[in-house]
Symmetry: C2
Subunit: 348 residues, 2 copies
């Protein structure tokens, strides 16, 4: 049994999307049970329409809902201990749930998750990992925007955490990991990235295979299972790719409706276009995973539709079922056990 | 008359692509004359096939050719003063050419261009500007990899230079300029980016309209005419977008050849697909512009085909014809004239 905690008030649509999304995920994974948090009247009205889901769920009333444009500091002040977002996270801390899924605003969710769950021992900064569709299947890219900048040690931590997630998600023994860098000879990349490359190579990690530097176009090719970068460039890579996908979709629609012949061709090839649309459908790949906290937090897109929210619940299910947190903890322990004891002033 | 200097030995194919590419550009712009640099036998053999081009060109023999994998430092040691790359750049310095176009390796080309042409007064760092196809037409994105990192003042310089290039390329009076940033509330972007935003706003630049922060997906939307960022994230955005375009192209080809119906549809819609292919054809948009040097340097993709190299020559032609260097100098002067005289230890 996997117990999933849900913030029913999160996202642009709240329970109207979260509840049917959860119902869809339950159809696929009948061993889920839910703990749910939200405003009573609105949530119960929707829940009543999904009796099968209702039966597998415990609902907790929370009057405070965090809005999508609230600043993290404001959300913390107003929503700590009492909001549906906070309490859905807290359920992971208290052990009432194995994982929490929220479509609420990223900044507030990260702030509350850090405050409530705290970062793991030996991890300074959490990261947001995205699941990126590639020509070879899927890859994990992190950090896509939890924090800006990262030193070599933090990038190594990202590599370890991303590697553990790849093992949980793709069920491969020793995922390949690359560091995102630029290919222009002249500049040879950021110092931190170069240092991180050395550090990861020297650490000889058992849990992953370090593949060296990769460039922006390697992500879509699926050159490695895990792409590691700091949050600024990771976020920009993700958004630039999303923008390009939308742009090409727009070109394609315009091209296919321009002439009668093209429209006839479209009718014949509709199956192919449907397949393509499915490949490009953002709702098929939804769910950023917060890594480095004492508990699994899944962030769904705020604008997610029912299918997309269900996909985020699926991700949470997989992560909990495959013991993501345990895997990360083990990998971190193995790495730190191998490190030499510190020398000098740190060796207290 | 526009005088264009060509490094015939640059790129993966050398004169076999550069020469016919130049011939193609000459067909479109009969007022071009060329100065050319390269190894005698190989170049003259190709040139002989293009008598119209030969007639408008002066050829200079250079025995040294810079290879595509040479490190910048090595290229400088071996090729300074004597290589076709160096001498084609030098032609801009001596006034024998208005612009140089090379498909040679980026690192070496930038190193030589900096060494030979020097950066403009008040510019610390050159930038590479890419012309990015968008849903609204084209935008300029810089820096896409000349240097890594940039402080607020350097980002302002990029904004000025990108704005001048937009005026030269798109012939708009006051282009809109945005700073690339991440949208997650929690982190609110790099300090330098925030500082640059303040600096640009306070500078009240006449030559451009500052539009504030933009995100990765705004590039493809064409939200602003010029997107400013430092070289690491700019390069990663560019490559991630290129990777995504290739990925979707591969999906589309696979989808359209999967079933008989799809293949029939493809035949009907062939015109539409050709149009789409043209939209996505990287050879239509080729030519990174080095900004901030005392002279215009256009970098063509190393793997450019004839059409793509001709497109890079077109870019060089437009930049020279519209007085890019002069526009940048004027904009810089106007900006620096308005700045208050320095206070404190700098005020010597």
């Amino acid at each position: 049994m996997i117990r999933i905690s849900l913030d029913l008030m999160g996202g642009d649509f709240g329970p109207e999307v979260v509840v049917p999304g959860a119902a869809k995920a339950l159809d696929r994974h009948p061993d889920i049970t839910f703990v749910m948090y939200g405003q009573k009247e609105r949530c119960e009205a929707v829940l009543a329409k999904y009796p099968k889901l209702r039966e597998k769920s415990v609902f907790h009333e929370c009057e405070v809902a965090i809005s999508m444009d609230e600043k993290p500091s404001q959300a913390l002040r107003r929503g700590r201990y009492v909001s549906s977002m906070w309490r859905s996270i807290e359920a992971v801390k208290t052990g009432d749930a194995d994982v929490v899924v929220s479509a609420g605003n990223t900044g507030a969710l990260m702030a509350m998750a850090k405050f409530c769950l705290r970062t793991m021992a030996n991890i300074e900064r959490p990261a947001i990992a995205a699941i990126w569709p590639t020509l070879r299947g899927e890859s994990i890219v992190l950090d896509v925007g939890a924090t800006i900048g990262a030193d070599a040690q933090q990038l190594l931590d990202f590599a370890l955490m991303g590697g553990a997630m790849a093992r949980a998600l793709f069920e491969i023994e020793r995922p390949t990991v690359g560091l995102l860098n630029v290919g222009v000879e002249e500049i040879k990349g950021q110092e931190e990235v170069k240092d991180a490359g050395r550090l990861i190579r020297e650490a000889n990690l058992e849990s992953l295979e370090y593949s060296g530097f990769v460039e922006g176009d390697d992500i879509g090719k699926g050159t490695v299972d895990v792409v590691v970068t700091e949050g600024f460039s990771g976020n920009i890579a993700l958004k630039a790719a999303e923008g390009t996908a939308k742009q090409i979709g727009a070109y394609l629609r315009a091209a296919m409706s321009r002439t009668l012949l093209a429209r006839i061709g479209y009718v014949f090839a509709k199956g192919a276009f449907d397949l393509l649309r499915e490949k490009l459908d953002p709702s098929k790949v939804n769910g950023g995973v917060f890594l480095g906290l004492n508990g699994i937090v899944i962030k769904s897109h705020g604008g997610a539709n029912v299918e997309a929210f269900a996909a985020a619940v699926d991700v949470g299910y997989d992560m909990a079922k495959n013991g993501l947190t345990q895997k990360i903890e083990n990998d971190l322990k193995r790495y730190h056990a191998k490190r030499l004891p510190p020398i000098g002033p740190e060796a207290a």
